[in-house]
Symmetry: C2
């Protein structure tokens, strides 16, 4: 219910997913009468969509703390509880990101050993897959070296299961690639991630820079939620500005208008490649259950893309895999602690 375009776009999106994927079913959360009306109009949803009545709505301007206290009747709460209770395999929401993360933390709880969950997104890149993973892009504005290590482990799991990369290459975002550069916590994180790489099933390429986010020097970019959030919004804004200037350039003269017509297919191909709707979905990592956050402004195409991503991750059982990876990364430390105990 919380998306900018209301439940109509959501139902249109899941209908599209249902048509393409026979192995998918939905539990929709929101005011029953309204949703029933929308669902019955879509033949692909017939018999594959259950509705849970929830009258409250988390609005975009609601503060996470309010929602945590008074949000029990909302569609967001109801959807997360469905995952918590094992009725749903994964939750998808177009709503308020801060509230969704706060509610996910209290309803699903963090995986043992994870201090800060993270939001991971796919970003258009020069890699063969066409994308990179970046995390955290805004779950938390701070991250210390332990958090960054966990982001590396969780990001590697995401790339392995969501992008089918056997041995993802991890980069740590900094302002230079030299090892002596940047903030103290980054130097500490550099060493921790380097040590974890051999046992963690990933390669560590060391420090990377902003230009590597759309590049091909690594598959997963690890950073704190403040920097990650600014980076993706800067990238999105720049891409949009170029797109608009391009449209303007093509309208400039009769000749350029003809050129635009001739270039239509090529331009559509390019647009498809970098269309943010096609990579729609921030994935919450580090919780007991997968949550996919779709853009608030997602249309049917965007919602369907988020559902597709959610389906893939659920099929791979990403949550269990991350739980195992985080646990095994913690073992050396426990061993060390036990050894110390024995030595004492």
């Amino acid at each position: 219910m919380g998306g900018d375009r209301g439940p109509n776009a959501v139902v249109a999106g899941i209908a599209r997913s249902a048509k393409k994927n026979p192995d998918i079913a939905f539990i929709l959360h929101g005011p029953k009468a309204e949703l029933s009306r929308l669902v019955t109009r879509r033949k692909h949803l017939r018999g594959r969509c259950e509705i849970r009545d929830a009258t409250g709505v988390v609005r975009m301007e609601d503060k996470p703390s309010q929602v945590m206290r008074h949000g029990k009747d909302t569609s967001m709460w109801s959807a997360l509880d469905c995952v918590r209770d094992g009725e749903a395999t994964v939750a998808v929401s177009c709503g308020n990101t801060g509230a969704l993360m706060a509610l996910s933390m209290i309803r699903l709880r963090k995986i043992p050993g994870v201090n800060r969950p993270a939001i991971a997104v796919l970003w258009p890149s020069r890699n063969p897959s066409g994308f990179n993973v970046m995390l955290d892009v805004g779950a938390d504005v701070r991250a210390d070296e332990e958090d960054l290590l966990q982001y590396a482990i969780m990001g590697a799991s995401y790339a392995r299961n969501g992008m089918h990369l056997e041995r993802p290459r991890i980069g740590l975002l900094n302002v230079g690639t030299e090892e002596n550069k940047g903030r103290a916590e980054l130097k500490a994180a550099h060493d921790l991630i380097e040590q974890a790489a051999p046992g963690g099933g990933f390669d560590f390429v060391g420090f990377v820079e902003g230009g590597d986010i759309p590049g091909d020097s690594c598959d997963v970019i690890v950073t704190d939620g403040f920097t990650g959030n600014v980076a993706i919004k800067t990238g999105e804004g720049t891409a949009k500005l170029i797109g608009d200037l391009l449209k303007e350039a093509f309208k400039f003269s009769p000749l350029s208008r003809i050129a635009a017509l001739l270039a239509l297919t090529s331009m559509r191909r390019l647009q498809k490649r970098i269309d943010p709707r096609r990579v729609n979905g921030g994935v919450f990592l580090g919780l007991n259950g997968t949550v996919v956050k779709s853009h608030g402004s997602a249309d049917a195409t965007g919602v369907a893309a988020a559902v597709k991503l959610a389906f893939q991750l659920a099929q791979q059982d990403l949550t269990s895999k991350i739980r195992a990876r985080v646990a095994s990364a913690a073992i050396p430390e426990q061993d060390a602690a036990e050894e110390t105990k024995v030595a004492e």
Copy 2:
């Protein structure tokens, strides 16, 4: 001497500037024999270019600390001392940014009241001027609330004098526009900048996001050097990726190749609008003397753009104006301190 393309690109660039601007003269720093040879070949430089022999070169991989200790014989040191001694009005360098900032700090010294100098760049935006100012983009990886306030004051001076905006609009970069969002130092900086706006000759639009860097909601984006550096490199990388994909798209079919030919003028116009060489030049603010850092990979066009920017800022006497603004912003604090004294 420190640019990626060597002194040839620099001399070609200043020759271009000399041709366009009769009010400009140069003092070149580097190995005299080599530079003389290059300069004599350019007729526009005849009688307008003095050469100072400097045999040492700061290389891209040199550490700032080394250069500060052992860099006395370098062209970079010689160029900065020329500004320090009043022989040159402004220094331009294509060399190692870290070393240039470190040397600028010890040779030119900080303006009284400035804690951390900043590097400001112009960024393509939707504003009428076509650009925004962003600072800091990498002088220092940290900035507290006082630093951010000084960046706002210095950035406003830059926009006023370099872009002729009478009352620049300042935005403080954050992960959301609500006042309760982000890190503690950002909330403190928000209040400091808001208080300084009326007396500082600028408007404060509050928090802005990454998408506002190429946008039109403000003219100056204030942030710490870590975030700023990541943001510009992400933006540059994204723009370059789109440009390359666009080229690919136009090569795809015979039809799109014809389209590319027809669209050539439009595309050139667009390219000119966002060509990073045309906005080449990070400006060091907060020092007793203006220093313009050109891209290391700058060609003649890039060098000429950096020289043009340096000329404009020197003509407006940016350094004196920043000195006055920083001093007047510090006055209320002094007043308050004196009032306290009186009250005691």
